[in-house]
């Protein structure tokens, strides 16, 4: 498993700074070699030995599932690149500003060949601090990219006033409270924050809590103005200082489920399978840490649209709170139906 090549997906709306981030990654003295898959081949300067032009061709799997879309060009390119195994350490896929990240992610789950050789590391979205709010209104792609992200760089943070920055962060949190959010200038960020995240690795699902800007992780230490959050409680609605507004995006939301009562595995799996079958097109991502009745091990689960991936992770430890947590990020989610469905799975 560890010899699978990690793949980082860079998304972001046009002009947000994806290429800046890409060039920053490539030029840092990390001693690693990257294979880069880009779209606008030859039009922008990317200083790297191994750059492959992609055509972002998406096709539907012929399995009756309309959201099982796969990037055919990635299947082909990764297959070809793997013949050079040993000559690079990781792959970075830069998508166009209008791309939906889902087919890229699904390629790693739906194509047996790609899945055997490469693993998705994380979806990193670069957002333009000045223009993101407008794009969230008029560009569904931009909203998708935020909703799908594991890591979000709120770039060009230096070009907007502090209150405006707080507001755009709140908008992002209204859509995706779980991604790591970093304020950056010219995409300046420590590489471990964007690479080697293992965001799709079941073994790395340790906790599911909303993420907040944390001075310990953020290299801009200007973030102590009033909103010190209680990281323990996990409710994104409780903001201690009250300075950070909460926005509820009408279309794209996250839904968090939690229970201290164990789940009945015989009820839960049919329910969740049925849910993603029906709501798959609207569910962008889901993640869960589950406690089943008569089961001493934590079960972890993650999904992209209709594709679910789950496994036992490790035994619940002594003193650990045996609690099931599950989150969905999606479009127009039937919150009440999902909540009552989940509750119906309690043992």
């Amino acid at each position: 498993m560890s010899d699978k090549i990690p793949v980082t997906v860079l998304t972001g709306y046009l002009g947000a700074g994806k290429t800046t981030l890409l060039n920053r990654i490539l030029s840092e003295p990390h001693g690693k070699k990257y294979a880069v898959i880009v779209n606008e081949f030859g039009e922008i300067g990317i200083d790297n030995d191994l750059v492959v032009g992609a055509d972002e061709e998406v096709f539907e799997m012929n399995n009756g599932c309309i959201c099982c879309t796969v990037r055919g060009d990635l299947v082909r390119i990764i297959d070809g690149l793997m013949r050079r195994k040993g000559k690079f350490d990781a792959i970075i896929v830069e998508t166009t500003g209008l791309a939906d990240p889902a087919p890229v992610a699904q390629t790693f789950f739906m194509d047996e060949n790609v899945g055997r050789k490469a693993k998705l590391d994380a979806v990193v979205t670069v957002a333009d601090a000045k223009w993101l709010r407008d794009r969230l209104k008029d560009a569904p792609e931009a909203k998708n990219q935020i909703a799908f992200a594991d890591v979000i760089l709120l770039n060009k943070a230096d070009l907007v006033a502090a209150d405006e920055l707080g507001e755009v962060e709140a908008r992002i949190r209204g859509i995706n409270p779980y991604a790591k959010l970093h304020r950056t200038e010219r995409c300046r960020i420590a590489l471990p924050e964007v690479l080697g995240r293992n965001a799709f690795d079941l073994d790395r699902i340790l906790e599911i809590e909303p993420e907040f800007l944390d001075s310990g992780e953020d290299d801009h230490a200007h973030d102590h103005d009033g909103h010190s959050h209680d990281h323990g409680n996990g409710h994104q609605h409780q903001h201690g200082g009250g300075a950070l507004k909460h926005y509820h995006d009408e279309e794209m939301q996250s839904l968090s489920l939690r229970s201290e009562r164990p789940l009945d595995a015989d009820k839960f799996f049919p329910w969740v399978q049925d849910l993603v079958q029906k709501e798959g097109p609207n569910i962008l991502r889901c993640k869960g840490i589950l406690s089943f009745k008569d089961d001493d091990k934590r079960f972890v689960l993650q999904g992209v649209h209709m594709i679910l991936d789950g496994d036992h992770q490790r035994p619940w430890t002594q003193g650990e709170k045996r609690e099931s947590r599950m989150v969905f990020i999606g479009r127009n989610l039937p919150q009440q139906t999902i909540k009552s469905g989940f509750e119906g799975c309690l043992a």
Partner: protein, 335 residues
């Protein structure tokens, strides 16, 4: 390998073992010379007598596709080049893509005709003429019809049949999904494709009737028509799956014949050029020769470290070349 096959006839001792420096991705024959296509840069030429030699057909590049054509091997690389290499080891550049795109597929046709593809573009060269066709999406595979200058191009949502010399528009055979490898039946009546999903699709060309062939546990990477065209042998399961194509309806409504079940999956198949015998290469390195008349098996290679990735018969069927992912290879003389 199971106890089950402990007593079956073996031709293993007639093998000339070969150790390649990289994984073998395809095998061909030029007369008596076996040609192993390696994943990176080179071809390994193994004459019947004498030393094997390495030819760097695509220096510094990865070979993505290959095909045999009488006296030469055609290869396409991620260097954007189409190269021809003879049994003497001499290589010549046949084409260089203007944008240095990857040459994803090559195919060899009758009378020296040649086809290759880069992304959505297909090129055909026959004599002094070169023509180009752009299909709907990236090409998954190319195959020439057995007669005449006609090319089948597999892509997303179907395949395109193209007569490069005719004025008529290319004909589209539609079927949803991503179509990869493509084969014409030897009688030219059917076109079969392997798909992204574990399964095959075929069309009867007379009326474009669709035929689905499913039930596989993995993607079908390798498919080959028997020399007489009556059956289509396929990989993708832990037994040899052979579809009947002799009747006018081909495999429609018929079950495939199943042979040589094993613990591991079949990765490659190659049909004997004259007899109803199929060579099957398994994921555990096993190679079996299977007679389709009665299912009799002959052991051609014992299981080893890595999956079999390439198999080829010479023109008379007297020799079989095999190659594995770890570079272990061999030529079995059946005499």
């Amino acid at each position: 390998m199971s106890e089950l096959r402990a007593g079956i006839p073996s031709v293993v001792e007639r093998t000339r073992p070969i150790k390649a420096t990289a994984s073998v991705v395809a095998a061909h024959f030029l007369g008596d010379t076996a040609v192993l296509v390696l994943g990176e840069e080179s071809l390994l030429l193994v004459p019947r007598q004498g030393e094997a030699r390495t030819v760097e057909a695509h220096p510094g590049a990865v070979i993505l596709s290959s095909a045999a054509q009488r006296n030469r091997i055609i290869t396409g690389g991620d260097d954007g080049k189409v190269i021809a290499t003879g049994a003497d080891g001499a290589s010549a550049t046949l084409a260089t893509d203007g944008k240095r795109r990857w040459i994803d597929h090559v195919a060899a046709g009758p009378e020296g005709a040649l086809a290759w593809s880069a992304g959505k573009q297909v090129f055909v060269r026959a004599g002094a003429n070169e023509r180009t066709l752009e299909v709907l999406s990236t090409v998954g595979g190319l195959a020439f019809a057995p007669k005449g200058l006609r090319l089948a191009v597999a892509h997303y949502n179907g395949a395109t049949l193209w007569f490069p010399n005719a004025r008529s528009e290319p004909a589209m055979l539609a079927w949803k999904g991503s179509h990869l490898a493509v084969r014409y039946s030897p009688d030219g009546r059917f076109v079969a494709t392997s798909m992204q999903e574990p399964g095959l699709h075929a069309w009867r060309l007379s009326d474009r009737k669709d035929m689905r062939m499913s039930g596989y546990s993995a993607r079908v990477r390798s498919l080959a028509f028997a020399a007489d065209g009556k059956s289509l042998a396929t990989s993708g399961a832990n037994q040899l799956v052979v579809w009947p194509f002799q009747g006018k309806d081909g495999p429609m409504g018929k079950a495939p014949r199943l042979f040589a079940p094993a613990e591991f999956q079949i990765e490659v198949v190659a049909c004997h050029p004259r007899q109803d015998i199929v060579a099957a290469g398994y994921a555990d390195g096993l190679v079996l020769l299977v007679r389709l008349d009665d299912g009799a098996e002959i052991l051609a290679r014992k299981p080893a470290a890595a999956p079999i990735t390439a198999l080829a018969w010479n023109a008379s069927g007297s020799a079989l070349a095999f190659g594995a992912e770890d570079g272990e290879a061999g030529v079995v003389e059946l005499g």
